[in-house]
Subunit: 222 residues, 2 copies
């Protein structure tokens, strides 16, 4: 059986879970706390970082970007990186935008402080980081609004890794209760569509001991 | 004509230049200082970040990872991401290792301080950052040695984006004169092979006004 190493608080691993579910690839899961060094993980990949996939043929694939590309190559039935080179470049550009830029400017500052810091160190969030995250998110949601006014999905006419990467990150900010939904109705409309997909259900069931999700997190009609 | 926006001090843009030259794709270049906001760049991509490629058909591709994948898809004659899904996953994993991990732990700390800070702000390097970079590089060079003992190129039997990403980053550290070559003969042997390729010649001609390269930088027999 395919085995996927992840943690509900790791945004890039959430993206890969969405990819796996969109492609209807069954897997066993192994949840590893990313703030502790894991011998098991280091035995699989020198970075020792989540996520890691051990595929059915025992191929070990690590790095969220490499796993995503691998899954789209080996299981192309539900293509998630677009069809033409131009579409694929756009999906990858936007996925990287959310995996890197949004992650460091927003997810890390908000969910990193309110969720990971609480669970890993039982510590209160750093208020400067939180403030920065809440400020930074505005420009990203304005950009998402701009994209949504022009396209049905973020990178074009069909769902892609751009949507999954964005939704994975936003879902963690939403879990914290920090999404300013009322100011961004277009983004909300898009997120409701992603959140209503069967692939999203496992993520909505995530609960972190000691840090319950904001009520809006599981609500499909918020 | 294909147009490539880059700067000699941007590691990920150096990687893409190597990809372009390995694939023998001619291009005009536009050098942009990455520490100033560029209207021209912002007109091409919302991130406003280097590198950006405007291909012959005027397709605009940004994000170094998306450009690399695009070039390998559209110009597959000289494949640089391996052939099997396993090889491709390994090349991508290692390219990401050098683009992200090595970059932030080493290149940014050493070349960012000694070259970019000097050129952009005429300021001296932060000695703590430099010390961190020189310490961090050891584990990376040990890992490179481990890889080299097992493979002819970093990701397997042929040159790939893993080698180009590693060499692009290392070339900036080498420009600063901070590569501890004598301690890592296997890494040196691999780097000499990459550095001797025709694709590397344009990089060896890079000179940054006010910050001459270390003598070893252009020497093929150091």
């Amino acid at each position: 059986m395919r085995l996927f190493y992840h943690h509900p608080l790791v945004a890039s691993a959430r993206k890969v879970r969405l990819v796996l579910h969109e492609k209807r690839l069954a897997y066993d899961e192994r949840v590893i706390e990313p703030w502790r060094e894991s011998e098991e993980l280091l035995g699989l990949t020198p970075a020792g970082e989540l996520p890691v996939l051990v595929d059915e043929d025992q191929a070990v694939v690590s790095d969220h970007g490499a796993i995503t590309e691998y899954l789209d190559e080996v299981y192309p039935d539900v293509p998630l990186i677009g069809r033409t080179p131009g579409e694929r470049a756009e999906a990858r550009r936007l996925a990287a935008w959310f995996d890197d830029k949004f992650y460091w400017e927003v997810t890390h500052q908000i969910a990193g402080e309110k969720l990971i810091r609480r669970v890993s160190a039982n510590a209160a969030p750093d208020s400067r980081a939180l403030r920065a995250g809440r400020e930074n998110i505005q420009i990203h949601l304005q950009y998402l609004t701009w994209l949504k006014e022009r396209r049905s999905w973020l990178a074009g006419d069909s769902l892609s890794i751009a949507d999954l990467s964005a939704a994975a990150n936003i879902s963690l900010v939403d879990y914290s209760g920090d999404m300013p939904w009322e100011q961004y109705p277009e983004v909300k409309e898009w997120y409701v569509r992603v959140k209503s997909r069967p692939s999203f259900r496992p993520l909505l069931k995530d609960t972190i001991p000691g840090v319950p999700p904001a009520p809006v997190y599981t609500d499909l009609d918020f």
